[in-house]
C-alpha cells in the first residue's frame, strides 16, 4: 500500500467536503426554515436570524399533522412487516430450492419493479372505491406491499445466497433438532439481511406520494407526504412554509437515524440486490 501523501489527503478532503455540501444543503435549508421565526421566514437567509420553535409547536397542536404521522407510521410498519415476511419466504425458495416457475417469478417481480405505478392509479382508484378500500389503511398497504416485494425478494435472495447453509447440516449432525439448527444457526445468519431489507422497504413505503395522494381523501388514511399539501397557516393569510418544513424535518428524522446507524447495511443491501445478476 502506497503511503498517503499530505497532498492526496488534502485533495480527498476537499472532494469529500464537496460531496457533503451537495448532499446536505437542501436538508439544512429545510431545517433552517423550520427554525425561523414567523417574522424572518421570508428573509431568504440560509441561516436563521431569529431562532424559534413556533413551527414545531404549531404542527403538534393541530390534528392534521399528528393523524398523518400516525397513518404514515402505521401503514409503513404494517406494509413493511408483511412485505418482509412474504419476501423472506419467496427469497428462501428462490435461493435454496429447485422448483418450476422460479425463473418466471424472478422475471415477474422484475416487471413489477419497473412497472409505471401511475398506470395502477386509475384502476386501483376505481377498484378500491367499489371494495370500500378507498381512503383506508389497507387501501395503501396493498399497493405498498406489491411494489416493495420485488425489492424485498431481490435483496433477500442475494443475502440468502451468501449464507453457508451447510452449517445447518453440520449442526444437525452434531445432534441439534431442525428447530434448534434453524434458531441457533440459520436465524442469526439470516437476521442481518432481513433487517436490512426491512429498512429499505420501510424507506420505500415512507417515501411514497403518488398512491398516498391518489388513494386517500381524508385524514383517515392520508400519510404525511400527502398531508403536507393541505397544511395551511392558522389563518387564511398565514404562510404555512414554517409548518411544512417542521413536519418535513420530523419525517426526515427516522431516515437520518437509519442512515447514521445502518449505513453499511443499507449500502450492502442496495448493491447486493442490484448487481449480482
Amino acid at each position: 500500500m502506497a503511503v498517503i501523501t499530505t497532498g492526496k489527503r488534502v485533495r480527498w478532503t476537499i472532494i469529500d467536503v464537496i460531496v457533503v455540501v451537495y448532499a446536505l444543503v437542501p436538508v439544512l435549508w429545510t431545517l433552517s426554515l423550520s427554525f425561523k421565526s414567523k417574522a424572518t421566514i421570508g428573509d431568504g437567509s440560509f441561516i436563521p436570524q431569529e431562532w424559534s420553535v413556533q413551527s414545531y409547536v404549531d404542527i403538534f397542536q393541530t390534528n392534521d399533522f399528528l393523524l398523518a404521522l400516525v397513518n404514515s407510521i402505521g401503514i409503513s410498519l404494517i406494509a413493511t412487516a408483511i412485505a418482509v415476511v412474504l419476501g423472506t419466504m419467496a427469497a428462501y425458495a428462490i435461493a435454496r430450492l429447485d422448483f418450476p416457475g422460479k425463473t418466471a417469478l424472478v422475471g415477474f417481480s422484475l416487471l413489477v419493479a419497473m412497472f409505471p405505478q401511475v398506470s395502477l392509479v386509475s384502476p386501483l382508484f376505481s377498484i378500491e372505491r367499489s371494495l370500500s378500500l378507498f381512503d383506508t389503511w389497507p387501501g395503501l398497504i396493498l399497493p405498498y406491499i406489491t411494489f416493495a416485494l420485488p425489492l424485498a425478494i431481490y435483496t433477500l435472495s442475494a443475502f440468502f445466497r451468501e449464507i453457508p447453509w451447510e452449517l445447518e447440516k453440520a449442526a444437525k449432525m452434531d445432534g441439534a433438532t431442525p428447530a434448534q439448527a434453524f434458531r441457533r444457526v440459520i436465524a442469526p445468519l439470516a437476521a442481518p439481511g432481513v433487517f436490512t431489507t426491512a429498512i429499505l422497504v420501510f424507506i420505500f413505503c415512507w417515501n411514497d406520494f403518488l398512491f398516498a395522494i391518489s388513494l386517500t381523501a381524508t385524514t383517515r388514511s392520508r400519510t404525511v407526504p400527502a398531508a403536507l399539501q393541505f397544511f395551511t397557516g392558522a389563518s387564511q393569510f398565514e404562510d404555512p412554509t414554517g409548518q411544512i418544513c417542521a413536519a418535513a424535518v420530523v419525517i426526515t428524522i427516522p431516515i437520518v437515524l437509519f442512515v447514521l446507524f445502518f449505513q453499511r447495511r443499507i449500502v450492502a443491501g442496495l448493491t447486493s440486490g442490484a448487481v449480482k445478476g
Binding site: 431568504g44 437567509s45 419466504m89 419467496a90 422460479k102 392509479v121 407526504p225 426526515t252 437509519f258 445478476g277
Partner: protein, 312 residues
C-alpha cells in the same frame, strides 16, 4: 473452511440420490408454497388492475356523469393521442428523463469513484450520500421549492430578485431536473459502485505498468468491466425517471407545460374524475415503459438483476 464445504457438497447430493424423486417433489411443493403468497399479491395488485384498466380505457366513463358510461372502442385513444397537452407532457417527460439520467450517470460515476477510492472519511461520504436517497421526495421537493421562491429562498436570492424561476418553462424544467438529479444520483452511484468493486485491482495495476494513464485506465479497463452494472443502473433509472411525479407536483404543479405524463394521468383521474381518459393514459404509459424496457434488454443486452442465478 471453504474447502471442507466444497468437499461436502458432492458427497451429500450423492447420498441423497436414492430418495431424489420423493425429496424433489417435496422440494418443489415447498418452493411453490413459499412463493405463492408473494406471487398472488403481486398479481392481484398489478395484473388484474392492468386488465381492468384496458377495459376502462375502452369506455366513456366520467364519474361526474356516471349514467353516460358506454363502450366507445378506441375513441379514448384517439382523443388522447390527438391532444396537444398529452404530447407536450410526453415530450416533457422524455426530456426530463433523458437529461436527468445523463447528468446522473456522469455525477453518479464521479460519486461512485469517490466513495470507492477516497482515502479520507469513506464512511462519512457513504453515510452522507445516502441522505438524498433516503429522504422523502416530497420533503426534498419542498426544500427546492422554497429555495426558488422569490424573497424566501436562498437560490432565488442568488439568481436575482426579479426572476421567479418556477414560473417560466425552461427555468422550471431545470429546477425539476436539478431536484431529480440531487435525489437520485446517490442511488445511481451505489449501483455503479457495486460494478466498480468487480474491477480487479491487478488489472488496473497491470494497465498502469503498461503505461496507461488514469483516463485510459478508466475507459479501457474499468468501463468495459462495469458495463453490465452501468446498463442495469441506466435501465432502472430511466424507467424510474419516466414515472416522475412527486417533484413536478410540488415544484410547479405541472403548470407552464412542465407536467409529466404521470401528472396528466393524475389530473384527469383525480381532478377531472375521468376514469376513461385516465385509464387510457395509464395504458399508454404502460406501453411506453414496456417499449423502453424491451429496447434496453434487447439492444443493450442488459442482464436482468437476479436473473443470473435463476436462469437455468
Amino acid at each position: 473452511m471453504s474447502q471442507t464445504t466444497e468437499a461436502a457438497r458432492p458427497a451429500t447430493t450423492h447420498r441423497a440420490k436414492p430418495v431424489l424423486s420423493e425429496g424433489k417433489r417435496a422440494e418443489r411443493r415447498l418452493g411453490l408454497l413459499l412463493c405463492a403468497p408473494a406471487a398472488i399479491v403481486m398479481l392481484a395488485v398489478t395484473g388484474w388492475p392492468i386488465i381492468y384498466s384496458v377495459w376502462l380505457s375502452l369506455q366513456r366513463y366520467d364519474l361526474r356523469f356516471p349514467d353516460k358510461q358506454e363502450f366507445v372502442g378506441l375513441a379514448n385513444y384517439g382523443t388522447v393521442l390527438s391532444n396537444g397537452y398529452w404530447w407536450t407532457a410526453f415530450g416533457t417527460t422524455a426530456l426530463i428523463t433523458v437529461v436527468s439520467v445523463a447528468i446522473e450517470l456522469v455525477l453518479g460515476m464521479a460519486l461512485a469513484l469517490i466513495m470507492h477510492r477516497t482515502l479520507v472519511g469513506r464512511g462519512l461520504v457513504r453515510t452522507v450520500s445516502l441522505i438524498p436517497y433516503g429522504i422523502v421526495t416530497v420533503v426534498a421537493a419542498f426544500s427546492w421549492k422554497f429555495a426558488w421562491t422569490p424573497d424566501t429562498g436562498y437560490l432565488a436570492k442568488l439568481v436575482g430578485p426579479d426572476t421567479a424561476v418556477l414560473t417560466e418553462k425552461l427555468p422550471a424544467l431545470s429546477a425539476i431536473i436539478l431536484a431529480e438529479v440531487w435525489k437520485t444520483t446517490p442511488f445511481m452511484a451505489l449501483l455503479l459502485m457495486a460494478g466498480l468493486a468487480l474491477v480487479p485491482d491487478d488489472l488496473l495495476k497491470a494497465a498502469s505498468m503498461d503505461g496507461a494513464g488514469p483516463w485510459q485506465r478508466f475507459t479501457k479497463v474499468m468501463l468495459p468491466v462495469m458495463k453490465p452494472a452501468i446498463l442495469v443502473a441506466l435501465l432502472f433509472r430511466t424507467l424510474d425517471a419516466f414515472r416522475i411525479f412527486d417533484n413536478i407536483f410540488i415544484l410547479t404543479g405541472g403548470s407552464q407545460g412542465t407536467g409529466s405524463v404521470s401528472m396528466q394521468t393524475y389530473d384527469n383521474l383525480i381532478r377531472g374524475l375521468n376514469l376513461g381518459i385516465g385509464s387510457t393514459m395509464s395504458v399508454l404509459i404502460f406501453i411506453a415503459v414496456a417499449i423502453v424496457a424491451f429496447v434496453f434488454i434487447k439492444v443493450f443486452g442488459t442482464a436482468a438483476p437476479g436473473s443470473d442465478p435463476g436462469r437455468r
